[in-house]
Amino acid sequence: MRATPVRRAWPWLLGFGALLVLPLITSNAYHRYLLTIILINVILAVGLNIVKGFAGQVTVGHIALAAIGAYTSAALSAYYGVPFWLALPGAMLAAGLAGVMIGIPSFRLEGAYLALATLGLAESVRIYFSATDYFGASIGFGDIPPPFIGGYAINTHLSYYYLVMPLALAGIYFSFAILRSDIGRSFQALREDPLAASVSGINVRKYKLLAFLISALYAGCAGSLQAHLSPGFIHPNNYTIVEMVTLLLMVVLGGIGHIWGGIIGAVLVTIVYDLTRDYYQYQLAIFGMIIVLTVTYMPKGIGGIIDRLFAERRFNARRKASAEKSNAA
């Protein structure tokens, strides 16, 4: 079955339509705010899935890339009057560069060692922001202007949702496009066997960096969106190891490398994170434990369950078809 342009487009249009009406179901401003946060986290999770899930690079530096995006965007717009529409690509560029630097250790390190190296880099980024007055140090960076369209400020929860939603949807679309292309296959090949990938003609280092770069662009975009979200305030505490573990949980719970799983993971974890906000001191322990339990007992996560359901349906359909064929014969 060949996918025509129309057949390719309609699920996306349908999704877009559903997401257009979604925030109108509730008139509660907080719920609309939560929807926006969920979508920003979806961007983060989908991006992390590319480097971690597709390409198998165990990075714990993703949250620092979001921080770099957030602070770049904040400084550009608050200090230089750069409009959001330019600050956003600026933030993505800065995060992208940092992502490539975080990716360089992956040439020599794997698994837990790579995690440690990226964790070190990420923590130094956070400490840098929390110790630099220019970025508000430990007080935080405030008065970040909202995005403007002409004279209209995007500073309500509803309007901001409509800014974030198309970006999140585009991010999801791009990650599917990547996964189904030669780039996605190259990522998976280097995840499964870097040596076999390289003798198949894949420049393993180049593709590792590309994975880090692409996922960093997602992080930079999410960071910029966090910064300009009303009330326009960011703080180093938004980018700690707890946030990183939360982000990891989204991807792990969703099923590493599974795009839909990661999205569902982002939705669930953001809601749970929000509900347990009053128990901040326990979150790290609880989320860490859920990660361990998921990896041990449900290594394919929610994505694995989805795949099983679909595989079963396909299998049943095929069995029915072949039964009918043998009946006819």
Partner: protein, 265 residues
């Protein structure tokens, strides 16, 4: 000469895995590479494909010096190989494994892929059709959508050969392609390898323990022992060479190998 190796040497700690080996292969040839366990056959493949860098020696392909290049650069210049331990991408589908092999020939830019532009779909359709052809040829078309890790042992071995051929190489290095196959399957595999060679205009180097395979299929055989080349020539001459007989009847040889060798002679 298509492939020309001059004076390759490789040490592991104190062990000379390959010492001063010359190895030249003509275009269109099927070369056999034999030798007892641990004689350095796989190491020679690893050196040729750039997986290991030699301590000494040079290599050229089609007249171009490719010494010191990285594995992916060597692959792109036309050397493909399989691994003794297969090294398939087990979680990827059978078709995807071939598509990875075809990586160097897929023509669209990274931005086009990320944006999912129509030229990407067109190219994907073209290469998928081409790879399905290859899959049919090696008899795995029915498994195209199955994860490679779920294939049987023999099918996995076939798939590694397919993945290497998907690279459209000038020369293909097969590391024990018949290992673990039943005699019937070995015969089928041999026929397939010869027909693949014809169809894709390949030059082949085949490492094989089953001597019958080498003796029946190859025009020239190179024999390694303790990392040194001890003989090279047509199979009929090789099997009477006293050094070869000694190497094979020496203490490294298992009962099965003796049987195989006697059957071949």
């Amino acid at each position: 000469m298509l492939l020309e190796v001059k004076g390759f040497s490789k040490q592991f700690g104190g062990l000379a895995a390959i010492s001063n080996v010359d190895f030249s292969v003509k275009k269109g040839e099927i070369r056999g590479l034999i030798g007892p366990n641990g004689s350095g056959k796989s190491t020679l493949f690893n050196l040729i494909s750039g997986v290991y860098t030699p301590d000494k020696g040079r290599i050229s392909l089609d007249g171009e010096d490719i010494s010191g290049l990285e594995p992916h650069e060597i692959a792109r210049r036309g050397i493909a190989r399989t691994f003794q331990l297969l090294r398939l991408f087990g979680q990827m589908t059978v078709l995807e494994n071939l598509l990875v092999g075809h990586h160097a020939h897929i023509r669209y830019s990274a931005p086009a892929a990320i944006f999912g532009l129509p030229n990407v779909w067109a190219e994907e359709t073209r290469v998928k059709d081409e790879m399905m052809d290859l899959l049919s040829f090696i008899g795995l078309a029915d498994y195209a959508g199955m994860p490679a890790g779920e294939l049987s042992g023999g099918q996995r071995r076939l798939l590694t050969i397919g993945r290497a051929i998907a690279m459209r190489p000038k020369i293909l290095l097969l590391d024990e392609p018949a290992a673990g196959l039943s005699p019937v399957n070995v015969d089928n595999l041999l026929r397939l390898i010869v027909s693949l060679k014809e169809r894709y205009g390949l030059t082949l180097v085949v490492i094989e323990h089953i001597l019958k395979v080498v003796m029946d299929t190859c025009e020239t055989v190179t024999v390694l022992e303790h990392g040194e080349k001890i003989a090279e020539g047509p199979p009929a001459k090789i099997k009477d060479d006293p050094r070869v007989v000694e190497a094979y009847l020496g203490k490294e040889m298992s009962d099965a190998e003796v049987q195989a060798f006697l059957k071949a002679s």
